[in-house]
Symmetry: C2
Amino acid sequence: MRSDNPWKIIRSKTVYQNPWILVREDEVMRPNGEPGIYGVVESSDSVMICAMNNRRELYLIRSFSYPAQAWRWELPGGGNDGDDATTAAQRELREETGITAETWTQLGDIRVCDGLMTERTKIMLAEGLTLSDVPEADDNDLISDRRFASLDEIYQMVQSGEIDEGQSLTALYLVERYLRQN
Amino acid sequence: MRSDNPWKIIRSKTVYQNPWILVREDEVMRPNGEPGIYGVVESSDSVMICAMNNRRELYLIRSFSYPAQAWRWELPGGGNDGDDATTAAQRELREETGITAETWTQLGDIRVCDGLMTERTKIMLAEGLTLSDVPEADDNDLISDRRFASLDEIYQMVQSGEIDEGQSLTALYLVERYLRQN
C-alpha cells in the first residue's frame, strides 16, 4: 500500500471462488471520504505468444471463447499454472500448436483489465520455430483451426472483426513496435 | 448459442453482484462430456479514447488503479453507463480531461478478457480537439497528472513499465495501424 493511496481499505472478504478465479469485495473509505465497496477479480497470471516464423508471420489459432460463446481467432496463450512465463509459454505453445522455439523474448508485462482484475499477462515472442504434430488437446484448449498469417493480414482480420481479442491486440502492438527497432 | 458450441450449459446462477459487475457460475457439460462449472464476469461495456492533436500526440492521464493499488499512466476511458459509445466517449473525455473533439472515429470493438469476461471496449479516435478546464472530478476519476505525448514517447513509457494497461495498448495498436493508412 502506498502512502499516496486515495482509497482506504477497511476490510476484505472473498465473495466467490472457483479453481480459476477469486472475487473479493473490499469495504472501503472512498477518496471523497464516503464509505463504499469495491469488487476485484483475482485470477492467476497468464501468457500470450507471438510465434513468428522467418517471414515475420505469426501463428494464429481459432478457439472457443466460453464468455463470448463463439469460435474466435487469436494468438496462442493461457494461464501460467504457477510456472514462470517462459516455461508457461513453452507449454502453452506446444500444447496448442505443436510448435517449439529456439529463442524466447519477453516483450511486455501487461495488466489485463485495469478497473476490475489483478491479472497480468506477459507477452512472449517465440522465434526459431520447429513445427510438429499437435498433441491431443485437453478440452480447455479446443482449437478448430490454426495457421500462420502476416501482420498485414492479421490487421485485415482485426478490421473485419474476425479478430477482436484484446490481449492479442496488445501483443500485436508490442511485436510491431519491437520489429521496427530490430 | 451456436450449434457448433462444444460446451453445453445446464443452468446458470448469479454468485455475486454489485453495481458494477455480476459474477455468474454456469453448470456445464464440458466438451469432453464431463460435468463441470464455468465462472464468467459480466460488466457493462466501456470505451477507450485516443485524443489526438494535430501533431499526432495522444493525451495521457495518470489515474489510480484500485486493483493494482497504484497510480498508472493510461489513455482516458470508462464505462458506457448505458450510452452509445460516442456519447460515452465524449462524456469520459470531457470529465477526465476537459477536452472536446470535432470528429469521432471508431477504431475497434474489442473483448477485454477472452477467458473470463463478457465486457467489450470500443476504441474511439477523437480529433479536432479543444482544451478547456477540467471539471471537478468525481472520486472514481481521480487523476494526478495529464499531458500529451508522442506515439514514440508513449512506446518508451511502455518499455520502461510506466504504461502497462492492456486496453491502452490495444488502442495504441489500432491507432498506429489507422495512421499508417490515413
